[in-house]
């Protein structure tokens, strides 16, 4: 396993109006699991493909294990790639699919067999080795794709939304298995996803991308609790952070906070809003516009003197209530520049 360093990568597709990747730099440490997180079209898959060598950057450099591989073809980068649609050879058995990478590199048959058994044990594929991909379920195919990636003991494993084709239950289970697997292997991994839960649960660090630019690099806790800008603030969290002109909140007297100016945006996570069914000291009354129960909590859309925001009520909110008392704690408030969206 090895470090992966991305330096000043820039890429623009022919006919594109703006670059899909603009001056991207970050380093994945040896044994680290890093997620590239961002909405569709933010350039995360392109970035992963550039790291793999499946796509060439216009400028910038990629190094794996300290060696510059910018112009190295994919097969010589010693990486493994897990494709979104798994890309298993449909006419080959699971065993042959897993073995192909080693076979093409001229590994000894005994070693190949040993590695196949190792991967099969690790991923519970023992029963499936003699089957073809068409006879496997989505989750099983996904495991075979992982097996094919890991069997070579690559320097780094690159994963392109590997869970996106699984149903919700299987996705959650596989996510857990994946985390345990990489923890055990201590493998360097770069994982592309648009799913914030995946990014938060799996990664050691997250690289948040939007419009071809890095918005923030940090641990999941970091980017959640200290978002660098309004994009990160609203992209992470379900429901997302309330972001509002601070002045507006002041007018509604929702926030007791000294410095108010038109150029500052306030941000508050819905779970940080304090709620009560009874009037308490420092609480205001708000009208419940919408209550969305999600099971563990109910997401309330609240309005007070024209100021609207969302808040989380733990458990089930009493359906008959049309009013709720709230407090927006100033100490939990995030502040952003209204023009740039950057954290203040």
């Amino acid at each position: 396993m090895a470090e992966v360093a991305v330096k000043n990568i820039r890429k623009q597709f022919k006919g594109g109006k703006r670059p899909v990747l603009d001056d991207i730099s970050f380093t994945v440490k040896d044994g680290e699991f890093v997620c590239l997180l961002g909405p569709s079209g933010c350039g995360k898959t392109t970035l992963l493909r550039i790291i793999a060598g499946l796509e060439l950057a216009d400028s910038g450099a990629i190094s794996i294990g300290g060696a510059d591989v910018t112009d190295t073809p994919p097969k010589d980068r010693d990486i493994a790639f897990v494709f979104q649609n798994y890309a298993l050879y449909p006419h080959l058995l699971v065993r042959e699919n897993i073995a192909m990478g080693l076979k093409l590199r001229g590994a000894e048959p005994a070693l190949i067999e040993e590695r196949i058994q190792e991967a099969a044990r690790m991923l519970s594929l023992e029963e499936l080795l003699e089957r073809k991909p068409a006879a496997l379920s989505g989750g099983q195919r996904q495991r075979v794709a992982l097996g094919r990636a890991l069997v070579r003991h690559p320097k780094a494993t690159l994963l392109d939304e590997p869970l996106s084709n699984l149903d919700a239950v299987l996705r959650e289970r596989t996510r857990g298995e994946l985390k345990l697997l990489f923890k055990r292997l201590k493998g360097t991994a770069v994982y592309v996803t648009h799913d914030q839960i995946e990014a938060m649960t799996l990664s050691d660090r997250v690289v948040v991308l939007d419009k071809g630019r890095i918005q923030q690099v940090g641990t999941p806790a970091d980017i959640y609790h200290h978002p660098a800008n309004t994009f990160v603030a609203t992209f992470l969290g379900a429901p997302p952070m309330n972001v509002f002109p601070l002045e507006e909140a002041h007018k509604a007297r929702a926030v007791e906070d000294g410095a108010a100016s038109g150029t500052v945006l306030g941000g508050l996570r819905p779970e940080d809003v304090q709620l009560s069914l009874e009037l308490k000291d420092g609480f205001l009354v708000g009208k419940v516009l919408l209550a969305e129960p999600t099971g563990a909590q109910t997401v309330l859309s609240i309005e007070s003197s024209g100021f609207k925001f969302r808040a989380c009520w733990p458990g089930t909110f009493p359906g008959s209530r049309e009013e709720v008392f709230f407090r927006l704690p100033a100490e939990k408030l995030h502040r952003f520049d209204a023009d740039t969206g950057e954290r203040l």
Binding site: F81, Y89, L104, R148
Partner: protein, 285 residues
């Protein structure tokens, strides 16, 4: 459940309605396909002559050779061109259209053109080969000697029908996901390995279909050879379809001609089954 099935068109009443839609087409099929077969069986005669009919065996052998040469060359060439044309390059659309032109031409007309190309007096082929120093004289009578006449027929057929193979293979290639090639590339396969690891096995169903289709077509070849050589010289390019024609229109042996068409059909059946069986077995192995 039964309600759903009825809605989906599987109830007894719906089945009747569905069949009524299919019946006109089935009748037409029966008229143009089944009726001639039944008629051939009805009027076929002279089965006992078959075993002693040297001309039949010779023309069958000619047809088998013609089919084998033409289909194998067209397959290899068609695949090569398809592989080239699926790669992105400038003006690809134009080249793709141009490649299809020979296939769009009527066979008889294109056979006339080839006759001119092969003409010993003014044909361009002899002239070209002479200029490249490959023949000692530009006046080669390509269609007058048994060996070169067969080759000439095959060449003309290859020129005409390779585009058709290319078209089929291009659609087959389009169905192979790029990700597989990328995965193989990361696994360490170069272009040649990728071809044998992915392209060939995944193209096998298309290959089988194209080969069966083309084999059936070339086994029944008539117009091309008829215009080009008329079956000569000395019967060296007389295909089975030409022999059937001779029996009907020259010898007026309608019954025996029917027998010959049955022989032809049997050969085709065996050949198609063989190709399909061969490719299917390979696929499962």
């Amino acid at each position: 459940m039964s309600r759903d099935r009825a809605h989906a068109g599987f109830g007894p009443r719906e089945a009747a309605v569905n069949w009524s839609f299919a019946v006109p087409a089935l009748l037409l099929m029966a008229l143009v396909n089944l009726l001639p077969v039944v008629a051939a069986f009805r009027y076929a005669s002279g089965f006992h002559r078959l075993s002693a009919d040297g001309r039949m065996f010779a023309s069958l052998w000619n047809t088998v050779r013609f089919t084998a040469y033409a289909v194998s060359i067209e397959t290899v060439l068609g695949l090569a061109i398809a592989l080239l044309l699926t790669r992105p390059f400038k003006g690809r659309g134009l080249v793709r259209a141009a490649v299809l032109v020979p296939w769009a031409l009527p066979t008889a007309i294109m056979a006339m053109a080839w006759q001119w190309i092969y003409n010993p007096e003014y044909g361009i082929l002899g002239d070209l080969l002479f200029k490249f120093g490959l023949v000692s004289s530009p006046r080669v009578a390509w269609l007058a000697s048994p060996g070169s006449a067969m080759a000439a027929c095959v060449l003309a057929d290859v020129w005409k029908t390779t585009p058709f193979m290319t078209l089929l293979f291009m659609s087959g290639l389009a169905n192979i996901p790029d990700e597989l090639y990328e995965a193989a590339g990361i696994d360490g396969a170069g272009p040649v390995r990728r071809f044998f690891l992915i392209t060939l096995p995944l193209l096998k169903p298309t290959l089988a279909l194209a080969m069966v289709f083309r084999a059936i077509q070339s086994f029944g070849v008539f117009d091309l050879v008829w215009v080009l050589t008329g079956g000569g010289p000395g019967g060296s390019t007389r295909m089975i379809a030409l022999y059937v024609y001779d029996n009907v229109f020259r010898y007026l042996e309608l019954g025996y001609a029917c027998t010959l068409t049955l022989v032809m059909a049997a050969c085709l059946l065996v050949m198609s089954a063989g190709i399909l069986y061969f490719t299917r077995q390979k696929e499962q192995a």
